[in-house]
Amino acid sequence: MFDFLEGYDLLGAFWVTVQLTVISAIGSLIWGTLLAAMRVSPVPLMRGFGTAYVNVVRNIPLTVIIVFTSLGLFQTLGVSMGAKDFTTINFRLAVLGLIAYTAAFVCEAVRSGINTVPVGQVEAARAIGLDFPQVLRLIVLPQAFRSVVGPLANVLIALTKNTTVAAAIGVGEAALLMREMIENEAQLILISVIFAVGFICLTLPTGLLLGRLSKKVAVKR
């Protein structure tokens, strides 16, 4: 029944999916947090940039962003992300696009977490002489993150599934392999089920683990 799987590197393709997800997750967490910091900063220019970035990027379809990294950044502007072979270039471009896109959602999740931190926490931090970056790093963000583990888990799950868009620029992840198999094999339903189950195997534990973590780290007031 599963004979048709022979000759396809199913695990390899999902491994690329995992790599795309993990690297993009780390990148978008960092960039998204910086964006959130900008959006609450006292500097109007930074606030303006953060707001504009989020509102532009989150309203563009991911496919457009990913295709732009390839056609716009690489083929037109010659940005090759420090790599020589096409596989690596496309992989890195896809990561760049996924980070740029996902960071907008991370930013909004983190910002909603910042809004849950009582203003008294900030006042107390300022009153002992901490400056703005210290207040943010030591008091506000640690409490904000604890309250948005759940929403961030949603973003991470969405990111995992969004990595399939990387197939549009030929990154050899799960969705690209699925397309190839559908073209070559007469097992449409079975192939779809295999890939659906594959993704659920990646995302379900993520959701469960982060849900548990969310309860564990919640700040008691």
Partner: protein, 267 residues
């Protein structure tokens, strides 16, 4: 944004000018005005707090007491006027403001202990990050202060596990850990259950006896009587009267103060 009219005309010279107390002024407010929208919360406030002096600010709610207290370390901005701490004008923002705030201890009505940090970490944080002390020295100092306010045994708990009175005493220790020149108390006992008020007041009494310069906004008349060098009575954004506690409670000179005292002391 508050209205900025910059006008300090009118209402000038209502309260007597700060008595200076020997001329060693630590906190000086000169013609300070502030509006919240249409509400004129501080009207030409002139106040001088001498080194080692305990000034208790009392008066009806909404009279500007808390705003005055918060303006001294610029948690509230002011529209016009000047504030000096130890001879230096209060910086508007940035690193200098942060440095100055470190010298001004603040205790809040709602405690505001850092919820994600243990009691000990609450008291060491400022020492390590602002005063740049090493962890070990800061720990030692923190434990000594926690012992002084009577919560040494709670050092490893989180704020939410403590009673209100304990939390407020930790908050006092946190402020003291910065070795402040002056301590501001913004209604420190107003959010406490009655049986916990005394444990906080006792710590404050001890501080006052030790010579700490204090500005205390409170409704605790007993504390004002026993610990204050001077009582400042505020109503409608003005300092209406400032005098010794004895004089104020036995023989207030303004009608506003008489009215206020008659309402709070007769039951």
């Amino acid at each position: 944004m508050p209205v900025r009219d910059g006008g300090s005309g009118g209402g000038h010279g209502d309260g007597r000018h700060g008595d200076g107390d020997g001329g060693d002024a630590l906190v000086v407010l000169r013609d300070v005005d502030k509006h919240f929208g249409a509400l004129h919360v501080l009207r030409s406030i002139n106040l001088t707090v001498g080194r080692g002096e305990v000034v208790v600010v009392i008066g009806p709610s909404g009279g500007g007491k808390s705003t005055l207290c918060r303006a001294i370390n610029r948690l509230e901005t002011i529209d016009s006027g000047e504030i000096f701490i130890d001879g230096r004008p209060l910086p508007a923002e940035g690193r200098e403001l942060a440095a100055l705030r470190a010298d001004v201890g603040m205790v809040f009505q709602s405690f505001n202990l850092f919820a994600h940090k243990t009691v000990l970490e609450n008291v060491t944080l400022g020492q390590v990050k602002v005063r740049k002390k090493d962890k070990k020295t800061a720990d030692g100092r923190a434990r000594q202060l926690l012992d002084r306010v009577g919560v040494a045994s709670q050092a490893d708990k989180y704020p939410a596990q403590l009673s209100g009175g304990q939390q407020q005493r930790v908050a006092i220790a946190r402020a003291l850990a910065m070795d402040p020149k002056v301590m501001l108390f913004d209604e420190p006992t107003s959010a406490l259950d009655p049986e916990m008020i005394n444990e906080v007041l006792e710590v404050m009494q001890q501080l006052a006896r030790d010579g700490m310069t204090m500005v205390v906004v409170t409704h605790e008349m007993g504390f004002a009587r026993s610990a204050a060098n001077r009582v400042v009575f505020m109503a409608d954004g003005r300092i209406v009267e400032q005098t010794t506690p004895d004089q104020f409670f036995s023989n207030p000179s303004s009608d506003r103060a008489k009215d206020f005292l008659s309402k709070i002391l007769h039951h």
